[in-house]
Amino acid sequence: MSTHTRIAISFATLALCLGALPAHAALKVLATTPDWAALVSELAGDKANVYTATSAFQDVHRVDAKPSLVARARTADLVVATGADLEIGWMPVLLQDSGNTRIQPGSPGYFEAAPLVHLLEVPSVVDRSMGDIHPLGNPHVTLDPRNIAIIAKALAARLVLLDPANAAFYAARGEDFQKRWQQAALQWEAKAAPLKGLGVVVIHRDQVYLCNWLGLKELAAIEPKPGVPPSAGYLAELVTKLAATPPKMILRNAYNDPKAADWLSQRIKVPVVLLPYSVGGTPEAKDLFGLFDDTINRLLAGAK
């Protein structure tokens, strides 16, 4: 026993020494998606050190609570998550295992974006037979610039709260971002006017906010139910259904498997339009402005 006790004591001492190291100057931020990482960079510049948990090529719903993510949660001052259960398969593990009180839900260091905006597709009945539905509403809120504006406002306020020493800096950057964002949004809306009323087919129902913003008509989803891959029979049915009301294009996100979309495209002779979906999804979508620029450019090219 005495050796065990000694080992335990030395271990605890080491832990305390390392744990008591002074905090870094820049805010450490763990963002669940590249979009939130980009938004933090817009608002905080070099005052924040941002780590992105996922890339545009990952389905954020299917991520493991990887050791590297636990390590980042351990040191984070702020977690920026989508919420609305999008990260439910891994975020609870990160938060619990992190040993970090700063980022627990209810603390200023835990920020959720989706609850701030008006969620679409809130189901009135929830049952797993309906596929992978989200009881709180569709969490894929980023592709509507109006949502980004609301979230940016709240996030800037949160940065001020966490790092009051730089309050003026965040306030100025936040205002500047809002100004540039409003201008850009007006331009996007004007540019995308011809898209209004066009029929599209989506894969997963994660372009709902985009369609809603631009007035695109979602005629069908390739997934029969959220998260359920289509069967051959369902695809055949879709072909018949779409023959009556042909869509203008099929939308595919960077992280989606191209197979089903390509198959449908060949059958109904409608082009597949690849969209970045997230920052980094295409080479052009370098930041949030690039994400919307590129999304609209690609939609316009597809609609021709």
Partner: protein, 481 residues
């Protein structure tokens, strides 16, 4: 309340009338009726008043919520309710009807259903991993034909701002209930510390903490079955610390009673089980992540009995008293294109366990009861790979190998008993090869077929076909790496 009034009235009526039932004057009855009528009206006016008040309060709450929503999106508590500006999107928003706030704090509840069909070429009653002192339970592929495996009920919730609690009870196919885990975990310690207490799966090794529905094969590796009785649950406390680093560095220690195999319940206030573990993990590029670990486990056993046969084939009960020390190295690697496991994922995993047991071995405790020194140094390992070759479908291959070494049995070396009195401890090198394929229609259901060539027995090879189902209902669980 409104419903209760007539019942209460009737009850009162009966109570009052019962003793005089035979000779109640009709005017008495009329008087009572009038009284009850008065009571009824009194209650219904009160109920109406209360209903009116509830409506009033509901209105006030809704107004307050609307104000709060408008007040600003960033409250320090991190619970902003709605959009700061009126949402321009047209949408049908259904507000779920809540009948009572009492249910708002219900814990997350989930239930896992598992069962299998087994076709085994050898009688499962004779299953034994040759060369090793057998664990009291957890060895072998289980019974033949259809079997209901455990139904695992998990209830978990934050207790308060300081603790999280979780109970996992396994209702077994034989109608018994095992408390697999029932622990609290701290939420409010900072600097990377977490303390867990109660009963929990030890963090030694990789697979030990993984619940059976998340295993990649129907059963545990042989070395887990033999050295840890399937899975080691500690009754005790655990402390973990994560280093403030970009890599995952985790150190931990456990202290427990040592009540479960390879330990036993002992008549002692001291700790019966100590464990230390260290984990290191990280990513390579955006497609690969890994974790390696090393653990050390020290457990004491008193009269840990097991069944064997003597040289004449008669059943005897022997018992070990002493210390069991195990060290483990484990490694896990996951690869998926861009880290997205939707369509393809490869998972490689292996562990090596080395155990030494030192103490006394008693022969035939219910008869001859001879005892002398005993020691052994034994090891085992497994290596497995699971590959998702298309969405929903995975195949897996696992190889198990064990080495019993030659135990030093004092009774034999002193010439008191022949080695033939300890057939279970005859040196052996059991091995097993397993292949599996599984099909997961969603995150919540999995159907699996597994075939094993099991050479755990000293002589015969057992060919095992297992078909398994796993269904999860209730709260969406989050899984560790």
């Amino acid at each position: 309340m409104a419903k209760l009034t007539p019942i209460a009235g009737a009850f009162l009526f009966v109570c009052v009338l019962w003793p005089h039932a035979g000779h109640a004057a009709s005017d008495d009855v009329a008087a009572l009726r009038a009284e009850i009528e008065a009571l009824k009206t009194d209650y219904s006016t009160r109920v109406q008043a209360l209903e009116a008040r509830i409506r009033q309060l509901e209105g006030a709450v809704a107004a307050a919520q609307a104000n709060q929503a408008a007040a600003g999106a960033a409250t320090p508590t991190g619970a902003p309710a709605a959009a700061a500006e009126p949402a321009p999107q047209p949408a049908a928003v259904a507000t779920p009807a809540k009948s009572s706030s009492a249910t708002a704090f219900n814990p997350a509840v989930s239930m896992i259903l598992t069962g299998n069909y087994a076709s085994l070429s050898q009688d499962p009653a004779t299953y034994r991993v040759a060369g090793f002192i057998p664990p009291p339970a957890g060895e072998g592929p289980g019974e033949r034909s259809f079997n209901l495996d455990e139904s695992e009920l998990t209830v978990s919730s934050n207790v308060d701002p300081y603790f999280f609690a979780n109970v996992t009870a396994a209702i077994q196919g034989d109608n018994s209930i095992d408390i697999e885990e029932a622990y609290f975990k701290t939420l409010a310690l900072n600097n990377g510390f977490t303390i867990k207490g109660g009963r929990f799966f030890s963090a030694t090794g990789y697979l030990n903490e993984v619940h059976s529905h998340n295993w990649d094969f129907v059963d545990q590796p042989l070395v887990y079955q033999v050295f840890l009785g399937g899975q080691l649950a500690q009754d005790g406390v655990q402390i973990r610390w994560i280093a403030p680093a970009d890599y995952f560095i985790e150190l931990g220690a456990e202290a427990g009673s040592g009540r479960s195999f390879p330990g036993t319940q002992r008549d002692s206030n001291s700790l019966g089980s100590d464990a230390l573990f260290a984990h290191l993990g990280g990513d390579v590029g955006d497609s690969t992540s890994w974790r390696v670990g090393t653990s050390w486990l020290d457990i004491r056993a008193a009269d840990r009995s097991y069944g064997d046969t003597d040289q004449f084939g008669n059943p005897v009960t022997n018992a070990f008293t002493g210390t069991s020390r195990t060290w483990i190295v484990d490694g896990t690697l996951k690869w998926a294109p861009h880290g997205d496991p939707t369509h393809h994922q490869l998972k490689l995993q292996g562990e090596y366990l080395h155990r030494t047991e030192d103490g006394q071995l008693a022969f035939d405790v219910t008869g001859l009861d001879l005892g002398a020194a005993y020691s052994d140094a034994q090891s085992g390992w497994y290596l497995q790979g699971v590959y998702e070759f298309m969405q929903r479908w995975r195949v897996g291959l696992r190889y198990d190998s064990m080495s019993s070494g030659t135990p030093r049995i004092g009774l034999v070396s002193a010439g008191l008993l022949p080695a033939a009195d300890f057939p279970s401890l005859r040196p052996a090198t059991p091995e097993r090869t397993t292949v599996m394929i599984d099909w997961s229609l969603s995150e919540f259901s999995r159907l699996r077929a597994q075939y094993a060539w099991d050479e755990a027995r000293a002589r015969e090879r057992d060919q095992q076909l297992l078909l398994q189902y796993i269904f999860a209902i209730g709260a969406h669980g989050a899984h560790k790496f």
